[in-house]
């Protein structure tokens, strides 16, 4: 029972990290059909932002609180710059954006190596987040993982509310559902695209801050995470967030359970096979927007 619960919670916490990363991707991929491989480097930027802030702010707790909004803005700004400089020119060629942003991510990784050095760096976690929460029955939950779960859920809630209730959210949904119709209705689609990119990239920055609580940060930390996060978006279906939420936790639990029953490497293969099998059933992902297009 304890072991089962432990595995379940590990899975959920893997899922929470995936979710934080995938939310931003789901936004940009869903709205603009753009595959942003540099998303992983925006995560890295968020993580290094935390590291830099800790150099000047000695209190680990305060620096974490400050890092969250700052990392959001830093990563978001990088995203907007990328959108303006490159991605805007490539909206008709989604596969090419994948390669172009891969090139950008290579350069950003090397930049991080030149600025911060190749070895990984470590940040200090606040005391509050280093301990465990004891539950009845001898179960424990690590505080930092609980924090990340809360952060992910808060991000989902905030994003959902923003999309549902604000004028900006309404415009974003309109562009996702039918770009041309939104444009003729007077919605400035180019500006909406830029805003969405800011939000999506900013969420990557938040994910980066969260990841500093789990381990060291290094120039290639994003590459390993980005593919899993993309799988979440692919399986979850684009255009809606709920698919990503469900799939992120499902993949996390599947990964943790597979790891427990076999090994890490076999678990990865199991997850891959499960995804291909799932796409046989629902090739467009778990939830899709109904459109009349042939795609």
């Amino acid at each position: 029972m304890t072991v089962l619960f432990g595995q379940l919670f590990t899975g959920i916490s893997i899922g929470a990290v995936l979710l934080l990363i995938a939310l931003g991707l789901a936004l940009t991929f869903g709205q603009m059909n753009v595959i942003n491989m540099a998303h992983g480097e925006f995560i890295m930027a968020g993580a290094y932002t935390t590291y830099v802030l800790q150099q000047s702010i000695t209190s680990a707790g305060l620096s974490l609180v400050v890092a969250l909004p700052v990392a959001f803005v830093v990563a978001g700004t990088m995203g907007v710059l990328l959108e303006i400089l490159l991605i805007r020119r490539l909206y008709a060629r989604p596969l090419d954006t994948l390669l172009v942003t891969w090139g950008v991510s290579l350069m950003l990784q090397q930049l991080a190596r030149d600025v911060f050095g190749s070895p990984n760096v470590q940040t200090r976690a606040p005391d509050l987040l280093t301990g465990n929460v004891a539950l009845p029955g001898g179960l424990t939950i690590a505080n930092n993982r609980l924090f990340i779960l809360a952060l992910a859920l808060a991000a989902v809630a905030a994003l959902t509310l923003a999309l549902r209730l604000t004028p900006l959210g309404r415009r974003i949904r309109a562009v996702v559902q039918n770009r041309d119709l939104a444009a003729v209705s007077g919605i400035p689609t180019a500006r909406i695209d830029r805003t969405t990119f800011f939000l999506g990239s900013g969420l990557a920055g938040l994910a980066g801050v969260a990841l500093t609580l789990l381990g060291p940060i290094g120039p290639t930390m994003g590459t390993n995470l980005i593919i899993d996060a993309f799988l979440v978006v692919v399986v979850g279906g684009i255009g809606q967030l709920k698919g990503s939420v469900i799939v992120a936790f499902a993949l996390g639990v599947l990964q943790a359970t597979g790891e427990y029953l076999t090994t890490l490497s076999v678990a990865k293969v199991i997850v891959f096979v499960a995804i291909v099998a799932f796409l046989q059933w629902r090739p467009q992902g778990l939830f899709t927007l109904r459109t009349r297009s042939l795609a």
Binding site: I35, R89, R93, L99, V100, L106, Q110, I227, V266, F272
Partner: protein
Amino acid sequence: MTAVTPAPPDTAVRQAPAGAVPPNPPGGRSRLRAAAGFAFGAALLFAVAPLVLSDFRLALLAKYLCVAMVAVGIGIAWGRGGMLTLGQGVFFGLGGYAMAMHLKLADAGPGGMPDFMQLYGQLDELPLWWRPFASPWFALPATVLLPMAVAFGLGSLVFRRRVRGAYFAILSQALAAAMVILLIGQQGTTGGTNGLTDIQGFFGYDLDDPVNQRMVYFIIAAVLLALLALARQLIHSRYGELLVAVRDGEERVRFLGYDPASVKLVAYVVAAGMAGLAGALFVPAVGIISPALIGIVPSIEFVIGVAVGGRATLLGPVLGAVAVAWARTALSERFPGTWTYLQGLLFVVVVAFLPGGLASLWALTRHRAPGPASDRRGWSPLGRRRGDRAEVPAA
């Protein structure tokens, strides 16, 4: 597929605008030109290169030519078929590991075990799935058939359910990630991160001997030329035209009564076979195969050479792959950090601003519109892709 339509003269080296059906062949000139180009390439590879280059440089060239073989396959699958496959390293690796396993077993002698297995010391005898590779009659076909089988399995599942575009690219990349993690995880039987190293013999020939290294180079050059000939036949066949049609308007091809899934599957499987063969020949040329050579990063690096050279052309991918690999060696020897920036810049500049690759520059000098691959998003019922200028009629 057997009925080969002779192409017009110019398409022997580069392609007509995307989607355009080549006009009726003016005669046998295109074949003549292709044969002349082929002979020129053969002379360059077989006579000039061995005379001009030192043994060391020739061995490097052999390595680049293996990468070029992968590039020929990517040119077909991505350039002509529109399937951006970011997992060619998997097929390269399958071919490479199949060959390396055989060579390791041959080095160890009958009944022997590869050195690394004794090193890790957990195994008393050869694992079951290693055993067939002791026979060259199994291992050599397996270098090509194994990748093709994997590609067939994944492709038939995925294409039939119309998983395509970015979804397919991500899946192919995830396959590469899973394969590498599996190889590293099963260290006792796969050599883990180190891979299979220190391969000394190649069917009885000592690979340390420069003469034998030269022989390996000649084999690789011959295979590359053969693959190019095969690719040319494929591109200029009726199948090749169908493949381009699927790339530019999959639904329209479906409405015409063809099955786009099968068309794509053939291209994907052929590309996988070429990558497998390349991996198999890479092993005797370099003496090692390891997860670092086949993972996500090398897989995507295979693609950049193709993009630089010109994805939809026959020779572009080969020249691009060799040029990028050469530049990598030349620059990373001296400035390791700079090369990463340059490589990133190459991705950005070429793909964003020169989607037809260097071949399109060549084509511009001939007053022809280059033919970059299009994507579904730009498809419109009017027959023109959004943002396309009116097609320049072929001169």
